[in-house]
Symmetry: C2
Subunit: 211 residues, 2 copies
């Protein structure tokens, strides 16, 4: 049995059904929220600095989606968030990494790209602390509990202090540590399940003081 | 087989495991993002106007969670978003409605509440258009495709113009129509599956012009 999300399905008689794909297309749909009057400049400025040549990209009024090889998708999302950072400005990003939806299609991706992720060098020296929450949905497997256990222990091993909250797990750390962890979770899922979705929310410069 | 999310599991030897619950506790974890310098005032002002007496509530640096009966949870989330509305200010809310996680616990809810949802009258005359995307994960059922089909047709029937995008479904409409639709999706899931998660992102006053 495979569960599925609302975006597609494997029954071709339904109006939103895709054709399914056997290609290694990962993706991330995300939204960036700078909490300031200059949010448009902050987002456009970040887009200018971020190299998105290694991913297929589409934006609408709600979100942007990057699709391609996981390494390049994760690199572009990370760079976009880091390039948008401004001292003292509260900003959040929320998104969903995913691969393997039975309703997905073969198109809309850049898969011939090879070599170093294009933003790695550009953002590697920019550091700031972030809060993050994540909810992981490994689909179509009876072994999902063991997969989730691995993910939890991976967060512990990396010093990200995982903590259970209703409907999600909280982690904390430097933006690189947290983004790299999300990518590692996706890598693990892509090795072990046919379809996963990883929802995350991350922010910086939150005015909320936690006890 | 039941899939699960990262927030809990039914195996008590794992560190994040809850005890499970048979109580009718629905919940919504959400984050509100007013894209303006006065975002703190906008959020606090909305909190002051919103009656949260019918739900259990907890906030941290990333998000707020309301838990209780679905009707009251949905009422409080809707009112918080509507009360935060300001003319011309771009604002988004993202969240996840859920019920039935096997790792959930019996606590942290208000279940004895009866009667009219406390915010219904207060916000019923405030209207504005919103964009929304949603991703639905009905867990632990082989019939999930039929459930998802119902949800899609329900959006069509209500004139919300459902459209498939990668990893999600887009809808459009008045804030009440869209929020009420999300609540209806939850109602349907609560009748038909043991565990579901409905992720959504909604915004108003987006500066992005769509073709």
């Amino acid at each position: 049995m495979e569960n599925n999300c609302c975006s597609g399905c494997s029954r071709p008689d339904l109006p939103w059904a895709g054709r399914g794909t056997s290609l290694p297309i990962s993706g991330c749909r995300f939204s960036l929220y700078p909490m300031c009057d200059q949010f448009v400049d902050q987002i456009l400025g970040s887009l200018e600095k971020t190299d998105t040549s290694a991913v297929w990209s589409e934006s609408d009024a709600l979100s942007t989606v990057y699709r391609g090889k996981l390494e390049y998708v994760a690199d572009a999302v990370k760079a976009l968030f880091i390039n948008a950072y401004r001292d003292g400005i509260h900003m959040a990003i929320e998104g969903q990494f995913s691969k393997g939806c039975p309703g997905d299609t073969d198109g809309d991706s850049v898969l011939e790209r090879e070599g170093e992720a294009p933003n790695r060098e550009l953002v590697k020296d920019i550091h700031f602390p972030v809060h993050c929450k994540l909810s992981l949905y490994p689909m179509g497997t009876g072994e999902y509990i063991d997969e989730i256990a691995k993910v939890w222990y991976m967060a512990e091993d990396r010093g990200l202090q995982p903590k259970t909250i209703h409907y999600a797990t909280r982690i904390e750390g430097d933006v690189h540590e947290v983004m790299d962890y999300l990518e590692s979770v996706c890598e693990l899922m892509e090795k072990s399940v046919s379809h996963y979705i990883l929802h995350f929310t991350m922010n910086c410069n939150s005015p909320t003081v936690e006890e």
